[in-house]
């Protein structure tokens, strides 16, 4: 089975975001595989071990993203492809999904896995857009996947409830928390990762004109959320606390 994972290099979840000249500062920030994409990598490896085949991890990113690809290889993926975005002036979900679609049209694939959402921009669009462009079915926020021949049984998280879906390959799915517990790369895995194939493609290699994939969106302003004031702790009899709370919600917070 040919399994692909689309992944993104993102800020470490523990990183404090700071803004410099209207841009998010990346100085000395730590980067990781987007956590939801990590579930996708783990699931891909598990499925390969069950059904045979190969796992290829693909990203559209800077040269730096090679580190995250190597981590996926250390976890157990077989091959990696870095599609360089260095020629692009701007990149949004349209750009990324268009580039990936061009790449995948030349590949033989049975299953593409991605994260449900990237923790940086949080749009959750690239997976579904890619599936649309490839004209294949897709299921988002999955928490379980079982493959039997070409039949695929999926549990999908719908705001806490479970939706049971049966579909077929080829297919694109996006991973929700709870799908699995991603493994740590093993030490032998890390030592072998360097020797595994990592291919770097320029947009030219895919015959893509950067004007054709130019971002459809524009960033107008970047700002941090307002600072939160310390909370208020009510005291006294429960009944009077409830009264006070309701009146505060009406008059101060103005939420009811």
């Amino acid at each position: 089975m040919n399994i692909f994972v689309i992944l993104k290099r993102t800020f470490d979840t523990e990183e404090k975001i700071s803004i410099n000249n209207g841009k998010i500062s990346e100085d000395s920030a730590e980067f990781i595989i987007n956590p939801y994409d990590e579930y996708a990598v783990e699931e891909a490896i598990v499925l390969r071990d069950q059904h045979g085949g190969e796992v290829t991890v693909v990203t559209v990113g800077s040269e730096e993203a090679e580190k995250e690809l190597r981590t996926a290889l250390a976890m157990g993926a077989d091959k990696a492809v870095l599609i360089s975005n260095e020629d692009l002036d701007s990149q949004d979900q349209f750009t990324t999904s268009s580039i990936l679609a061009t790449y995948f049209k030349e590949q033989e694939f049975d299953l593409i896995l991605g994260g449900n959402v990237a923790i940086d921009n949080g749009t959750g669009q690239v997976g579904p857009r890619l599936a649309e462009l490839l004209n294949i079915p897709y299921v988002t926020t999955i928490t379980s996947i079982k493959i039997d021949g070409s039949t695929v049984s999926i549990d999908r998280d719908v705001e806490g409830d479970v939706e049971k879906i049966e579909t077929s390959l080829p297919l694109l799915v996006t991973a929700q928390q709870g799908l699995n517990e991603p493994r740590y790369p093993s030490l032998p895995g890390i030592m072998k990762a360097k020797k595994k194939p990592l291919e770097t493609l320029e947009l030219d290699d895919l015959d893509i004109d950067e004007d054709d994939v130019e971002a459809k969106t524009k960033t107008v302003e970047v700002f941090l959320p307002p600072k939160k004031d310390a909370g208020k702790i009510l005291s006294g009899e429960i009944a009077s606390q409830v009264k006070e709370l309701v009146s505060l919600l009406r008059t101060e917070a103005k939420v009811i």
């Binding site: 580190k67 981590t71 250390a74 740590y184 790369p185 093993s186 030490l187 030592m191 990762a193 360097k194």
Partner: protein
């Protein structure tokens, strides 16, 4: 000159740091209190292929370098000193002598289970009257009908309760008044071999420290490790590598103490402001950060020299001495910055302080490190 870690070293650092924070750190305080060996941690480290880190792949190792070893020991020790020393001793005292001096057959039989984690590694050198002064060794091994018959006892031996075999030093003959010392591999289930786990220690309570008692322990002649009479030379080489491990442990514990101290100093308010506003506290924290940076650099340098096949005895001693003394003083200051809270178990820094002290003693005291350095710079 290049101060950057390689991509591989960075990946190992990231992996082991996450592992240490998520798996090792949460129960460190509890294990210390209950004197409970981190068995499940080592089971998981085995699954990750960490137990044979620097040893050749043909024996189940990962073929990683000494810098990576130092990184792993530092990160484990930052989470839990007991886990750090268990791992460091496993590799540098248990596995390394077998790898350096063992025959192919011995490596297949004894190094492989160390690399897989089936056995922890242990090394029996110290006796009641002998440590860095190996001349005080009293344990004897006499050849009888092709076997070695060993009698004597060893003290302060790390990991032996979890080891399937121990390499230990014994007197195998005398040349005039001079003792001939050799190393012999002894399976711990051999008749007459007992491992006693009775010590009441100051710190590192979750690590396994034992006494070995050998009464007419009989092993075949081919259990001799390396050449007869070279036991003394072998253990000097072994300890050189071990000192890098102790230095790395010191950096890890010091880092943990420093992180706790700076976090506490920013949160703790006295006289209306965080105590990190006071220069008295700032200077302590600045000194901590400086000493850790310097200690880590020296540990890395010693490790790098070893990886480059260069002489590293002096640098390993310097790294061990500087890092361990820095660690004790940093832990002491970390307790001080925490005030009364620091004296309490809940704040962790008192554990770091207790654990740190061993590092000025194990694998050669600070005094012995100064002797080694003095000899290396030509004093006589």
């Amino acid at each position: 000159m290049n101060f950057a870690l390689t991509d591989e070293q960075l990946m190992i650092q990231k992996m082991i740091r996450e592992f240490a924070e998520e798996v090792v750190a949460p129960d460190a305080e509890k294990r210390d209190k209950e004197k409970r060996f981190p068995k499940e941690v080592f089971h998981k480290l085995s699954e990750l292929g960490m137990m044979g880190l620097p040893f050749p792949e043909e024996y189940g190792g990962a073929g990683a370098d000494t810098v990576s070893f130092a990184i792993v020991v530092e990160e484990l020790s930052r989470a839990c000193g007991s886990t750090g020393i268990t791992y460091a001793a496993h590799i540098s005292l248990g596995g390394a002598p077998l790898n350096m001096f063992g025959t192919k057959e011995q490596k297949e039989k004894y190094l492989v289970p160390i690399c897989t984690g089936e056995s922890l590694g242990a090394f029996g050198l110290t006796e009641a009257g002998a440590g860095s002064d190996a001349g005080g060794t009293e344990t004897t091994a006499v050849q009888e009908a092709g076997d070695w018959v060993i009698n004597g006892s060893k003290c302060f031996i790390t990991n032996a309760s979890y080891a399937k075999h121990v390499a230990l030093t014994a007197i195998t003959g005398r040349n005039g008044g001079k003792k001939e010392i050799s190393a012999i591999i002894v399976p711990t289930d051999t008749k007459g071999f007992s491992v006693l786990d009775n010590y009441e220690k100051m710190g590192l309570h979750a690590s396994n420290t034992t006494e070995l008692v050998l009464e007419d322990v009989r092993v075949p002649a081919d259990h001799l490790l390396g050449k007869r009479g070279e036991g003394f030379k072998q253990f000097l080489v072994t300890l050189d590598g071990g000192r890098i491990g102790i230095g790395a442990m010191a950096v890890g514990i010091a880092q943990a103490a420093y992180e706790k101290a700076i976090q506490y100093a920013k949160e703790r308010k006295q006289f209306g402001r965080p105590i990190s506003n006071f220069q008295a506290i700032q200077f302590k924290l600045a000194d901590m950060a400086m000493k850790i940076e310097l200690a880590r650099m020296m540990v890395y340098k010693a490790a790098w020299l070893k990886d480059s096949g260069k002489k590293f005895s002096k640098e390993a001693s310097m790294a061990k001495l500087f890092a361990s003394e820095a660690c004790t003083s940093i832990c002491s200051d970390a307790v001080q910055i925490h005030g009364g809270n620091g004296y309490m178990r809940d704040y962790h820094v008192e554990r770091y302080y207790r654990d740190a002290k061993l590092l000025e003693i194990g694998e050669g005291t600070s005094e012995v490190q100064r002797m080694v350095i003095a000899r290396e710079i030509g004093c006589r």
